[in-house]
């Protein structure tokens, strides 16, 4: 053992010295190192001898300490035995007293159990009931009562039992009333205003035609950020202004949870954002189609009024297609009918493409928009299935996000396609009618005029 220790010391000191030598003093040679080691050993030996002497001198002291320690241990053992005995005695006593308590409580014990349960249940109900906005601090008493009953160190007093009864009865009575009271309301803007609030049983809180919501944990009353449809707000206003007569009122029978869902439903802008890139592309394409359709609508309407005027007019006017076709007759007054027909056909063929310009693009947009919607649907579903691969089907919320993206693009595609189809049908009819007039009427009008003179 000692030799191993020595070797360790040697190695350690060697390592230390060599490291030291490397670091600062490179001139130190091996002889010097040896000498240093020798000196170190001598000093160590001296130390060890001194320690041995000290130890030998203290032998009698050690014996004394041992004796003391043994005595202390014996005393502690004795106390422990005594305490254990006392503990057991107390256990028996406790069991006896418990038994006595149970016998004396008898059926009361069951009653306290029920009381505790009722107090706990009612506390939960009170926290969620809007009546708490009017009568505050009811839940605290019930909470304290339920907790102290749970510890069973204290029995409920008759006053407390009667108060539970009173609170339950009051909740019942109040839930059948429509009352007005004033309280602090946090408005949609964030500021706190003290104003009159109408409470409808335990179902709804309204104020100034707006539906309110109570936060169960803090008991504060706040306006719903998103209100239901206008006529419900009007019915709430009517209710507040009524003085006892019967009025209609839109009630949320779930006590606020349906109204609460209103806030979570995304609005129009959020819906469009759900569509993603594909959605935006569809909207841009739709906007282009709409602009083209508007341009066509205006120009075709103008052309049609001019053509109608031309049908009635005697002179050929070159500001409209029919006029330009009729001009052919004036330009070639002396040709035979076959040449005239050829010239007319040529003139009509020159007019047709101008009337039908851009209509093909509108048609294409009306067909492509639902296809792009389908594309968005498929990419959305791919995202959904990737989510399923990663997280499994356990959480429908993860899938729902991707699915609503997918469906949103379909909606956008249809929203663009439906008016485009309608506009195309309208514009196509208009341009077709004008072409029809050109084709079938131009020669007829010329013939009629020729006959007339």
């Amino acid at each position: 053992m000692k030799s191993i220790l020595k070797t360790f010391t040697l190695v350690a000191s060697f390592v230390a010295t060599s490291a030291f030598a490397q670091d600062s003093d490179k001139a130190l040679d091996l002889d010097q190192l040896l000498r240093q080691l020798e000196q170190g050993q001598i000093i160590q030996n001296k130390d060890n001898q001194r320690r041995e002497q000290e130890f030998a001198a203290k032998v009698s002291e050690q014996d004394q300490m041992l004796n003391d320690a043994t005595q202390r241990r014996n005393r502690a053992l004795q106390t422990s035995e005594e305490l254990e005995r006392q503990f057991q005695e107390n256990e028996f006593k406790l069991a006896d007293m418990d038994e006595a308590l149970t016998t004396r409580l008898g059926s009361l014990k069951e009653l306290f159990g029920v009381l505790q349960q009722v107090a706990g249940d009612t506390k939960g109900k009170f926290q969620n009931s809007v009546i708490s906005a009017q009568i505050q601090g009811r839940a605290t008493f019930l909470d304290e009562l339920a907790q102290s009953m749970g510890k069973s160190s204290k029995l409920a007093s008759i006053d407390e039992i009667e108060r539970v009864w009173f609170e339950v009865q009051r909740e019942m009575t109040e839930s059948g009333k429509v009352t007005k009271f004033t309280t602090d309301v946090v408005e949609a803007g964030g500021e706190k205003v003290n104003k009159e609030v109408v409470r409808v049983g335990s179902f709804a809180l309204v104020s100034d035609g707006k539906y309110l919501d109570m936060n169960p944990s803090t008991g504060t009353v706040a306006e719903l950020v998103r209100q239901p449809a206008g006529r419900y707000g009007e019915s709430a206003e009517e209710l507040q202004q009524s003085s006892g007569e019967l009025v209609q009122f839109g009630l949320d029978p779930t006590g606020g949870s349906i109204l609460g869902l209103l806030v979570q439903a995304p609005n129009f802008k959020e819906r469009i954002e759900q569509g993603g890139i594909v959605g935006y592309i569809i909207l841009v394409v739709g906007a282009i189609g709409l602009l083209l359709a508007l341009e066509r609508l205006i120009s075709l309407t103008l052309v049609r009024t001019k053509v109608n005027k031309q049908l009635k007019a005697k002179q050929a006017n070159s500001n409209n297609p029919l006029g330009r076709v009729l001009k052919v007759r004036e330009e070639f007054p002396d040709v035979d009918t076959e040449t005239l027909e050829l010239k007319l056909t040529e003139a009509i063929l020159g007019e047709v493409p101008k009337l039908g310009r851009n209509l093909t693009i509108i048609k294409i947009i009306s067909v492509v928009a639902p296809l792009m919607g389908l594309l968005g649907t498929v990419t959305g579903m791919i995202n959904t299935f990737q989510a399923i691969t990663l997280f499994g089907t356990g959480d429908p919320k993860l899938m729902a996000g991707g699915i609503s993206t997918a469906l949103m693009t379909t909606v956008l595609g249809l929203v663009v396609a439906i008016p485009m189809t309608l506009l195309y049908a309208m514009l196509n009819t208009r341009s077709k009618n004008i072409v029809y007039i050109l084709q079938e009427q131009a020669s007829g009008v010329i013939a009629e005029r020729a006959e007339r003179g």
Binding site: L261, Q264, T337, E341, V411, L422, A425, S443, G444, A450
Partner: protein, 174 residues
Amino acid sequence: MFFAEFFEAIRDFTETGGQVLLVIGVLIFVMWMLILERALYFFIWHKQLKQQTIASWNARQDKSSWFAEQIRQAQISRVMLKLNVSVPIIQALVALCPLLGLMGTVTGMIEVFDVMAISGSGNARSMASGVSKATIPTMAGMVGALSGVFASTWLARIGKTEKTHIEDAMAMEH
């Protein structure tokens, strides 16, 4: 009182169907107005115009020249233009009905999935409103399309048969 109940029933129905149902309702209304207008035109004014045109043709001396042929074509086309005024629009509206129904389905499904995103798939009752918004417009779109298909085919067929009738009645002499 009866009308109030009637109105409320319609309002509740449109509300369960959502806004798309309202659009479909307007669309079907416009479509049937156009169809009725066409039917009225066909049974009342068209008959007059047809008789006038045929009479004016029969009154003509010259029924064989190139001019006569062109005038005949022009007169027939004027009658047909008036008869077919809104038929393509009606056909487009018929085609739009199922498309709008599909849009209602998709918006309804979006609502269902929004509810699922908020409250999970456990609550079937809260999903019911979205499901009714998905199914009622589809049904309404189908009803509209089916009712319109017959009317628009009838109108298109009237156009064709009338054209041949008039052409037969206004015979050319050779």
